[in-house]
């Protein structure tokens, strides 16, 4: 290996520049609300079909299917939600950024899932209604109990929210709409607000060929947009597709520790999605000055799921600190160190948690921890970050 460091630097440069460029490049020309045109193009990594639908394309689909959703490396991706039209996806983008959805017209999806913060907000626990500002600077308003997960690869997910309580993306969106601490509205009120805006009437007409905007269409547009946010072209992926130099030696060591049966990282953060999508109790402590969060137990009534949360994807993990369901750990090092200790060490011995059976102190050395962290850095791919609109149909200021 002659030029590993140089190669790595080269890749880093790409990622940085890619991110910088996306943030500065707008897909739409500067326009007032009345002139907003929906994009006829599919988002990155999607192919426009003859019937005007966008389908996801991935080199993973050139591999044999994984039997019974086992996961693996050179395996095809599981079933996904795609097939929305470019116009529906782009309409979803405007709705996503538009605070018109919320009762007070001060909260959009993007307030907690903003491209500037890799589709999250950089906060340990998010801020809902009446908050001000974006990202880590956001303040005031309703304090929410958990963090906003970044929205990558939702097209493949079967359940949503940290406690998996929503079975569809539509359910997830609806919950945010009607929750008092968040958008605090009702479907009818929200649809009426959208309907009252001529630009939206024109855009829905174009995207859905409809005279009357319906609640279902609003949800569908949001789903179309959110499922277009894919991250499957990281350096790790290039490596798996055969680009040997995409990872350096330290990162490859990290990969091997990641998939070792002693550490078992890959048993729950299963490639290629880097999540099994399942619930697991890991016994993270409650964040300082907060109550212990019972997680999926509250949602299911299932005592063995006390403190269980959905295994999050590790894609773009380096960019989405802080970590865990309530930002308990501010660095990856803290998060991994937590797993490299006796299971249950961070919770009260009598807390009655049923820790996941893959929790098992792997006794990794310091250098192995660093290698793991380096490997996690190879899961970064933000090429599909959406552009922030210049203006919104509602005329409300764009959150940016």
């Amino acid at each position: 290996m002659t030029s590993n460091t140089a190669v790595n630097k080269f890749w880093l440069t790409i990622v940085c520049h890619a991110a910088a460029l996306i943030l500065s490049t707008a897909l739409v020309v500067r326009a007032s609300a009345a002139e907003i045109q929906l994009s006829p193009h599919c988002p990155p990594y999607f192919r426009l079909q003859a019937d005007n639908s966008c389908t996801l394309a991935s080199l993973y689909d050139t591999y044999p299917a994984a039997h019974e959703r086992w996961g693996g490396y050179r395996v095809a991706l599981p079933a996904r939600r795609d097939g929305f039209s470019p116009q529906q996806i782009d309409l979803g983008r405007y709705l996503f950024f538009d605070p018109i959805l919320s009762a007070d017209q001060d909260l959009s999806c993007a307030h907690c899932h903003h491209p500037n913060f890799t589709l999250a907000d950089g906060l340990g626990t998010s801020i809902g209604r009446h908050g001000a500002g974006l990202g880590p600077a956001r303040q005031g308003g309703s304090a929410l109990p958990r963090s906003a997960p970044p929205l990558w690869n939702l097209a493949f997910q079967q359940t949503f929210f940290w406690d998996s309580r929503a079975a569809t993306l539509e359910d997830q969106i609806e919950t945010v709409l009607i929750t008092e601490e968040e958008m605090a509205t009702t479907p009818d009120e929200m649809v009426n607000r959208v309907k009252a805006i001529p630009a939206y009437r024109r855009m829905f007409q174009e995207a859905f060929a409809t005279e009357e905007i319906s609640y279902t269409q609003v949800l569908e547009a949001l789903v179309a947009f959110e499922t277009s946010l894919v991250s499957l072209s990281s350096r790790y992926d290039l490596y798996i597709h055969g680009a040997q130099d995409a990872l350096n030696n330290q990162e490859l060591n990290g990969l091997n520790i990641f998939r070792s049966f002693a550490s078992r990282c890959s048993q729950c953060h299963t490639p290629p999605l880097f999540t099994s999508g399942q619930l697991a109790t890991t016994g993270v402590p409650a964040p300082i000055s907060r109550e212990f969060d019972s997680g999926a137990q509250t949602a299911t009534g299932e005592p063995s799921l006390r403190g269980a949360f959905k295994v999050p994807t590790l894609r773009n993990i380096t960019l989405t600190a802080p970590y865990m369901h309530a930002g308990q750990f501010s660095t990856l090092e803290e998060a991994i160190t937590f797993y490299n200790a006796e299971p249950g060490h961070a919770v009260h011995a009598e807390s009655g948690l049923t820790l996941h059976w893959h929790m098992n102190n792997p006794n990794l050395r310091k250098d192995e921890l660093q290698d793991l962290i380096a490997f996690l850095g190879t899961l970064t791919d933000t090429t599909a970050l959406p552009a922030v609109p210049d203006a919104l149909p509602s005329g409300i200021a764009v959150p940016k």
Binding site: A18, Y45, A57, P64, G72, Y73, N256
Partner: protein, 460 residues
């Protein structure tokens, strides 16, 4: 040679021939890194590792690689994890991998493992002192584990987990907790192995609570199974003293084995309920084995003690050469002169032709392949899966519009195909970030891709 093995032989010859067309041999000498060699290999290549001590974890994440330890005067390439405290000896996720000729020892996790790899072959390796499994193919279809020697693993020497169509042939496994274990797997041939001095010789099992709820069509044939009474490992203490066991797996044929010197039983047939109380009831699993066929085996001195052989508080006073603690349907036993049996009173006499009689191998005559795509389809997919992340046809994304690229390379797809393999900066970095090299795409695919870009990409 019957027809299917002829076809198979033909297939492998074809494979070797096609591989050898552009294939190269990459030598590794003592003191060099095996991984570096793997990294420079492409599909069809053979990495040949000379004798010496190699302290690394070797991993193979691409298809069609052969990793070969060259044995010179009995000296082998030794992979040793002890000094660096390494986890696995060899990990392969690439399909069609061949791993042979190594001595793998002292690893914290597994000796040789394949994860989700199809069409694998692992042969002629020595594996010893491993904390979990010696040789561990998992989630694979179509493979061979042959002529390996595995000892002192604190779990199974060879462990085939949730896999299909695997032959395990002519291995020696000794002083492991379990010799050769087939778990929740289908179409597994365990033939001509020598399993001795483990706690259990050859367990064929269904374990509840896993993704796969069944196991079936396993042949245990012509093995030599001797003195599996080891109490070295606590993990298997309760089961120690058994030669070949079948737990709930259907259509297991046990034929032509020599089974000698086991405390509890030479062959033990169990249902899920007579296995272990530690497992929860998994109603999706049919608990009884069906159609076990035991014929033409030679038994010597099995079941001289019965410690540990019992169910639900009832114990057998003595074991036997063949013990069935299961019910199930359609079992048969062909009596061997002088052999002792227990619980076989309702078993039928075996027919002259056994279930497995015609089976020479469970490997597939053709390898598992991906969904077939024409070159054009593959190029189209690759364009959208790779290029469209940064390029649109008419507008600027991260990279310049494809319109511009088309204008530059209008009649020169070769030039474009070469350029994307090793892109050089054409514009100031302030305008566009550098494009990553796409050299991992094959030359043919790059050319197809270039043609697709120049001829097909339009208003996207």
């Amino acid at each position: 040679m019957n027809k299917s093995s002829l076809t198979r032989a033909f297939f492998w010859i074809c494979c070797l021939m096609s591989a050898s067309l552009g294939a190269k041999e990459i030598p590794v000498k003592s003191g060099e890194s095996i991984q570096d060699a793997i990294n420079s290999a492409s599909s069809g290549d053979i990495v040949r590792v000379m004798p010496g001590l190699y302290q690394e974890t070797v991993y193979i994440d691409r298809d069609g690689i052969t990793l070969q330890g060259v044995v010179v005067n009995g000296e082998r390439a030794i992979l040793d994890g002890e000094k660096l405290g390494l986890h696995d000896g060899i990990i392969a996720s690439g399909h069609g991998v061949i791993i042979e000729g190594f001595h793998v020892r002292n690893y914290r996790s597994n000796g040789i493992t394949t994860q989700g790899a199809n069409n694998f072959r692992i042969r002629n390796n020595i594996v010893e002192n491993i904390h979990l499994y010696g040789i561990f193919p998992q989630f694979g279809k179509n493979g061979l584990v042959a002529q390996n020697i595995i000892s002192r693993t604190s779990d199974a020497g060879i462990y085939v987990g949730m896999s299909e169509n695997v032959d395990i042939i002519a291995n020696e496994v000794f002083e492991n907790a379990l010799g050769i274990e087939a778990e929740n797997s289908h179409s597994i041939l365990i033939e001509a192995n020598y399993a001795h001095d483990n706690a259990v010789g050859i367990p064929v099992v269904i374990i509840p609570g896993l993704q796969t709820k069944s196991g079936a069509d396993v042949i245990v044939r012509n093995n030599i199974v001797i003195n599996n009474n080891s109490r070295l490992f606590k993990r298997s203490m309760d089961r120690s003293g058994r030669g070949i066991t079948v737990t709930a797996v259907d259509r297991v044929t046990i034929e032509g084995n020599i089974v000698k010197d086991h405390r509890s039983c030479g062959i033990c047939v169990h249902s899920m309920t007579s296995m272990s109380a530690a497992f929860p009831v998994d109603a999706a699993i049919e608990p009884e084995p069906d159609e076990t066929q035991i014929a033409n085996n030679i038994f010597v001195n099995n079941g001289y003690d019965a410690i540990g052989l019992g169910v639900a508080g009832a114990t057998l006073e003595h074991g036997a050469d063949v013990v069935s603690l299961a019910r199930g349907k359609g079992h048969c036993y062909q009596a061997t002169q002088g052999a002792t049996t227990l619980g076989l009173s309702r078993w039928a006499e075996c027919p002259s032709t056994l279930n497995a009689s015609g089976v020479q191998s469970f490997q597939l005559t053709e390898p598992v392949v991906s969904k077939a795509l024409s070159p054009a389809q593959k190029a189209q997919l690759t364009y959208h899966a790779v290029c469209s992340g940064c390029h649109a046809y008419a507008h600027t994304m991260i990279g310049p519009p494809m319109m511009v690229v088309k204008a530059l390379y209008q009649d020169n797809p070769e030039g474009l195909a070469d350029w994307i393999a090793a892109p050089t900066k054409k514009r100031p970095i302030e305008d566009y970030p550098a494009m990553p090299p796409q050299n991992y795409l094959s030359k043919e695919l790059r050319l197809d891709l270039a043609r697709y870009i120049l001829n097909e990409v339009g208003v996207d």
